[in-house]
């Protein structure tokens, strides 16, 4: 660099000498000194151009020029603070949100799970759920898992596990924890090592040992390094803690929190201690084995498994472990990424517009430089450098902003969503943001370049710059279109949330408190559990202020629901494969107490207890699906037996008789989920010793209706449980309406984000149109002044500007609405209770856009109206 400086100086000295010599010669030829020097200069030509061209030959000039441009850019930007701040804000918003979203997508969807060779981990599942009592629709039976472990050759390790919530007692008392019960190969399959002690291994199949996560160790065992060897009670059973997992390891789900791991023990009938006969399976592929080969191998083993197995004939499917962990997040995250992408486009258009405006005001400077010999390429480099400089600055600030956003998001949602505890901005994201910023810088500066080219090639200093760049108008129209898309989608989301808030629950949730209890002792005699649960039900009913109490194994918005998905055969209808219904157990006064609407028939009555028949209530969907054109009351339903199955494979063979039809009720915690056919059984009618009864009595869920304040009700209920049933652990106690609100939280988050994008887009576009019109007015002052002098009015002058705004808006609205329809189609799966083509959303968004734009345009229009024709003409 110093060498350049020296050489540059030398070059100029040489030029000077040249001119001196020529001057001397001229003087000797008889010219007066002044004229001699002038003639010498003229003969030499453009000194700067010659220097520039000479230095170009040295090479490395680009770097020197860039540094020069950078210095110049910094100087010229700090000379226009308003413009710089507006441009920076635009870019920070655009690039910051893109960085945040890409960091999330990269951390969660793209980055491999932080387990050794995580690409070898797969989940195996049954494509169509097996019959019987399952942990999940996709679970495989323990029998099948064992067969696969023994006979499939594609896996280096394979494990089955179930996850549930159970009361865990440590030295600090009893509270609910996540419990993962797994086969001994579990940790070896995932390739996890212990932080303290050791993990469950092959020898631990029947041992009373437990492994806990780092969070459990910190929060429940006081981070005691000697915690290994301590005893905790899980569902009333003593377990010895043998190891602690390292921080950040959250197998299998990927969500953080307190988790206790126990080895599973399977009894002779293929069930574990929790009466489950199936589990989710995860396997590690042997190196070099493709998932396809492994699936074929496993299917082969599966098909030749024990003939009496109910799973025989079922098909196996396989997905990567990564998919298992994040598949729920994939679509929402990618949709949000698309949203910020649109936002970035709007920001880019805005940046281009601001630069066009600035370029217009710098035209004088540019034409002068061009006249002094600066080539178009040189001016181009200068402008692009300036634009990239601002972009990179914007990206840096944006990255800082997204760093904060990522910290906030990680802390807020680490327990809620898979892998959110791993959120961070990795170098790759920063690099792509940097590249994106350069791209944005180049794109945004290309637009003003066209107008400069047009004007620099025009005669110098011609003042016919009154015609504003058409490109600026096109850019505003594009912004309008993109903003319209975001606004309409926001509208669709708002309407979705509103319809979810007003969804017909099928019952009245007001004044209802949900209480969920679980016996502390896992293996408590089901008969005894039922007796305690019934006694509590009766006690609750007699509490002062209580209107009614219902017990349901499937209570809306509970996380502890137990339903049986049973293949069902309805009399008078041929059985089709896949005919099934969800079976829920309810207390005898279910209809009256739960507030569900009875559409036909009658409720259970105490006299039914004496009747030998098994009586049931069904919901509307059941009738619509299986009893078309039939009278539902009195129809008979039975569990279907597949060929080869015995009565032992189905819950019971006794036929059930429908006595009533009730309205569809929300099932589970998703307000938008479609209704499933549902069968309600009176829990008193099931023999207490039966398998079903045992499963169903594992939790007791009460819905208590009372006009008392929720806090009063809660303390009363708590006191009653402590007095009447101290062996029951409280899993959950909250007003039903709180649970409903919580279930909407996730959608609210997405809604807020998308609505936020809409608002930012609207703001950016308003700034964009304001900028374009303000410059347009500045350039047309003379034009307007002359018009006024010739008799035009102030109103007409303002109208001129407003018309320009109106045209830009209308041109943008048409593709905007078309784009909104296309986007509505793309996000249709997120919508509920609103059509993807929703005229109301489109009309409201369109009106909002027009209003905001008219306001943004009114300022420049007002300024146009204030042009003083006398002043303008005097300036001529």
């Amino acid at each position: 660099m110093f060498d350049w400086k020296r050489r540059r100086k030398q070059l100029f000295q040489e030029f000077e000498a040249h001119i001196d010599i020529q001057t001397k010669e001229n003087i000797e030829a008889g010219m007066p000194p002044e004229a001699a020097r002038q003639a010498a200069r003229k003969k030499f030509g453009n000194v700067l151009l010659a220097a520039e061209q000479s230095r170009e030959i040295w090479g490395g000039l680009w770097l020197e020029r860039m540094l020069q441009d950078l210095r110049y850019a910094v100087r010229s930007l700090s000379g226009a603070p308003a413009y710089t701040v507006a441009l920076l804000c635009t870019l920070v918003l655009g690039l910051g949100s893109v960085t945040t979203m890409s960091a999330i997508v990269e951390s969660i969807l793209i980055r491999p799970v932080a387990l050794p060779h995580s690409e070898q981990l797969v989940q195996m599942y049954s494509e169509d759920g097996p019959g019987g009592f399952n942990a999940s629709q996709i679970a495989l039976s323990y029998k099948a898992i064992e067969e696969l472990q023994r006979n499939a050759h594609s896996f280096s390790s394979l494990t089955g596990y179930n996850t549930m919530a159970r009361p865990v007692t440590a030295s600090d008392g009893t509270s609910i924890s996540v419990l993962t019960v797994a086969t001994p190969e579990f940790f070896a399959t995932f390739g996890v090592q212990a932080k303290l002690g050791r993990l469950i291994g092959p020898g631990d199949a029947r041992a009373a040992v437990a492994v806990v996560t780092d969070e459990f160790w910190r929060e429940r065992l006081h981070a005691d390094p000697k915690a290994v060897g301590a005893t905790i009670k899980v569902s009333g059973q003593d377990q010895t803690v043998i190891g602690v997992l390292p921080a950040g390891v959250h197998v299998p789900q990927g969500t953080g929190g307190q988790i206790v791991y126990l080895p599973v023990s399977i009894n002779a009938s293929g069930q574990d201690d929790f009466k489950l006969d199936s589990a989710l399976a995860v396997a590690r592929l042997k190196p070099g084995i493709s998932p396809k080969q492994a699936r074929e191998d496993a299917q082969n083993v599966f098909s030749h498994a024990d003939r009496s197995n109910a799973e025989q004939g079922k098909r196996l499917a396989m997905r990567s472990y990564q998919d298992l962990v994040v598949s729920d997040l994939q679509r929402p995250l990618l949709t949000l990424l698309g949203g910020v992408g649109v936002l970035l486009l709007i920001a880019c258009a805005n940046a281009a517009n601001l630069q066009i405006g600035r370029a217009t005001s710098r035209m004088q400077e540019m034409t002068t430089r061009s006249a002094l010999g600066a080539s178009f390429g040189r001016l181009l480099q200068q402008l692009v450098t300036e634009s990239i400089l601002v972009s990179l600055l914007g990206a840096t600030l944006g990255a800082a902003l997204s760093y904060v956003a990522i910290q906030v998001l990680r802390n807020a949602y680490r327990m809620q969503y898979s892998r959110f505890d791993e959120l961070s901005i990795h170098p790759i994201v920063l690099v792509s943001t940097g590249l994106l910023a350069i791209l944005v810088g180049v794109l945004a500066s290309i637009a003003p370049l066209f107008s400069i080219r047009r004007q620099t090639t025009a005669p110098v200093n011609s003042r016919n710059a009154s015609r504003t760049s058409r490109l600026a108008g096109v850019l505003v129209a594009i912004q309008v279109a993109l903003t319209c898309v975001l606004l309409v989608v926001s509208g669709l989301f708002v309407r979705t949330l509103r319809s979810l808030e007003h969804v017909n629950l099928g019952f009245d949730p007001r004044n209802v408190t949900t209480l969920i209890l679980m016996p502390e002792q896992q293996n408590q005699d089901p008969e005894r559990s039922r007796e305690i649960e019934t006694r509590l039900l009766q006690r609750f009913e007699t509490l002062p202020g209580v209107q009614s109490v219902a017990m349901q194994t499937d209570i809306p918005f509970s996380n502890y629901n137990v339903v049986l998905n049973g293949t069902s055969e309805v009399s008078g209808r041929a059985y089709h494969e896949g005919d099934a219904a969800n079976y829920s157990m309810v207390s005898s006064n279910f209809v009256r107490a739960s507030g569900i609407r009875l559409l036909q028939g009658r409720d259970f009555v105490p006299q039914d207890a004496a009747s030998p028949a098994m009586l049931i209530l069904v919901n509307e969907t059941f009738v619509k699906k299986y009893l078309v054109g039939q009278h539902p009351i009195g129809a008979s339903v039975r569990f279907h037996r597949n060929p080869g199955e015995t009565d032992a494979d189905i819950p019971f063979s006794q036929p059930m008789t429908i006595i009533g039809v009730v309205e569809n009720e929300i099932q589970g915690g998703d307000l938008g989920a479609p209704h499933q056919p549902m069968v309600y059984l009176d829990y008193m009618k099931l023999p207490g010793s039966s398998f079903l009864s045992a499963v169903f009595s594992m939790t007791a869920q009460y819905a208590i209706r009372s006009p008392l304040a929720p806090a009063v009700m809660a303390s009363e209920l708590r006191a009653t449980v402590a007095k009447e049933a101290p062996s029951m652990v409280q899993m959950n106690l909250q007003p039903m309406e709180d649970a409903i609100a919580q279930s909407l939280d996730q959608r609210r988050l997405a809604l807020r984000l998308v609505a936020g994008f809409g608002v930012i887009a609207l703001l950016l576009s308003a700034v964009g149109i304001y900028g374009v019109l303000a410059y347009s007015v500045a350039l047309r002052r003379r034009d307007i002044g002359i018009r006024m002098a010739l008799g035009s009015t102030r109103g007409k002058a303002a109208g001129l500007i407003m018309r320009q705004a109106g045209i830009m808006t209308l041109i943008g609205l048409i593709p905007g609405i078309a784009g909104a329809c296309a986007t509505g189609y793309a996000v249709r799966s997120f919508l509920y209770g609103v059509k993807m083509f929703d005229p109301a959303s489109i009309v409201v968004s369109g009106c909002l856009l027009v209003i905001v734009f008219l306001v943004a345009a009114s300022l420049p229009a007002l300024r146009a109206a204030q042009v003083d024709p006398v002043e303008m003409l005097r300036a001529e």
Binding site: F15, H18, D20, I21, A50, S54
Partner: protein
């Protein structure tokens, strides 16, 4: 024509060392003012020849006691001059031959 100026410069500095102004003057004079270029455009060509190693420059004092930079042909430059000059000669001959018949016909 690309390279013409280079060739002229090489030819001009072949007898001995010269400074920029002298080179410009010499070219101007010897070409019978047919090659009218701004003296400034001489310098990028000088820089190019310097970079290619055909000439070298060193500081010195001009005939009228002015500090100036003098350019001198190198061995490599001399070789290049021969190559370029013969190339140019061939081209020139070719053009002359093409133009000749027309020139012979016209007097008839």
């Amino acid at each position: 024509m690309q390279g013409t100026l280079d060739l002229l410069i090489l030819q001009t500095v072949a007898p001995g060392q010269l400074h920029g102004h002298a080179i410009a003057n010499s070219i101007e004079r010897r070409s019978g003012e047919a090659l009218q270029v701004g003296h400034g455009s001489l310098y990028p060509a000088l820089q190019r020849l310097l970079k290619l190693g055909f000439i070298v420059a060193e500081d010195g004092i001009s005939e009228n006691n002015r500090k100036a930079r003098f350019y001198r042909l190198t061995a490599k430059g001399r070789k290049q001059l021969v190559v370029e000059a013969s190339k140019w000669q061939k081209l020139s001959d070719a053009i002359t031959r093409i133009l000749a018949p027309a020139a012979e016909k016209t007097p008839l």
